[in-house]
Symmetry: none
Subunit: 225 residues, 2 copies
């Protein structure tokens, strides 16, 4: 693990190690002067000098100017998990219940999935994420299977090309589709290119329940017979 990276002098390595150790042991990063003392560098400017290099190499991130405001991008193994509550099932004929974004969610008896933050695509805000468990085969056109878990992000509207969960009250239907707003209608495009889109006129009510961020499928031993 601790490997001499190309282009890193001993001091780079020592600084990196020390930051690592401090973050692990104390829970917060050291100050420049502490780094200096620990690595035998007598001047704060020299530490700054190295931190700048490490930062340019992408080995640390820092919001300079603030105290102890540095972090190790690749590590942070400690709290890199986020817990996403599974709010309920999603199925063709079922509306989705999304208890509107309580800033503090109460229900901790709920099911949840733990996801490493690093696998969440963008910098999604954690509080806006929730998960649904797919029931039935109705989402196969979205390449989503029975039993899959879809991770959603709260959203009431969508941009063209985003995959969203849509509730069509007039049809009593929930679907996951790519969303396109066009001339005088909405086009809901299945992920499977061989399938036909659904056209929804703008008169018809259409509720966007969230954007699909991620799909997780646990493959059990049993498959098709």
């Amino acid at each position: 693990m601790v490997r001499t990276r190309k282009g890193l002098t001993e001091r780079h390595q020592k600084i990196l190690d020390y930051i690592n150790k401090r973050v692990r042991e104390q829970g917060y990063p050291p100050s420049i002067r502490e780094i200096g003392k620990a690595t035998g560098i007598s001047s704060t400017s020299v530490v700054t000098y190295y931190l700048k290099q490490l930062s340019e190499l992408g080995l640390i991130e820092r919001d300079a100017r603030y105290s102890r405001a540095l972090r190790l991008p690749n590590s942070a193994p400690a709290q890199d998990l986020i817990r996403i509550p599974i709010l309920g099932p999603i199925a063709a004929g079922l509306p989705i219940l999304v208890p509107d974004a309580g800033p503090t969610y109460v229900g901790d008896e709920l099911d949840a999935v733990d996801i490493a933050r690093s696998v969440i695509p963008a910098r999604e805000k954690e509080d806006d994420l929730y998960a649904l468990r797919v029931q039935g085969d109705s989402m196969i056109d979205a390449m989503i299977n029975d039993g899959d878990i879809v991770i959603m992000k709260r959203a009431a509207k969508a941009n063209n090309g985003e995959m969203v969960a849509i509730w069509l009250p007039h049809r009593d239907e929930t679907t996951l589709k790519y969303f396109f707003k066009e001339e005088d209608h909405y086009r809901l495009q299945p992920a499977n290119p061989t399938m036909q889109p659904i056209i929804v006129s703008k008169d018809e009510p259409l509720e966007i329940k969230g954007k699909v961020v991620m799909v997780i499928r646990k493959v059990e031993q049993a498959g098709v017979k």
Copy 2:
């Protein structure tokens, strides 16, 4: 997770939540003034006042006097992350390279995904897991898309009904299929029930490269046009 603890006022709770969030998102704790601003407390002394109480309650630890020197003792609860190396691409016409189970893989220049152990189905042995990035649309019959990440478990043989990655040398083909050993042939069944199975005679060579454990799809904004 976020639970109103007995004896904690809303401000205590808010402060706790904010520290938590900042540590997770930034990698280092906030300053007193930042806490104040985020929780609607206008005076630094009031924040100090609460921090002292939280500290006495053992809900935070802090080396006061130093900047941002506070930490959440209970954090690092689920260190349950495992890192799964992404060994390479998987595509219809490509053999899979699986460098046989080095007990410690050296190459850390490789890509990897972090997964919470809790979402890994069985008690798979961590070292037996690896991941592949799907290239192309050739796996759509397995409900697996271009760009998906499949998490595999090393295996040279499979039981009936398991989904496996198979290499057919005579056909120069890699596929993900449900595996069934039958009378005098193998039946490779697509996950999509509307599609026809591939029948492979027992004379034909067939290499099982691993079992599919999980599929992860990150849905980006862009979809089908």
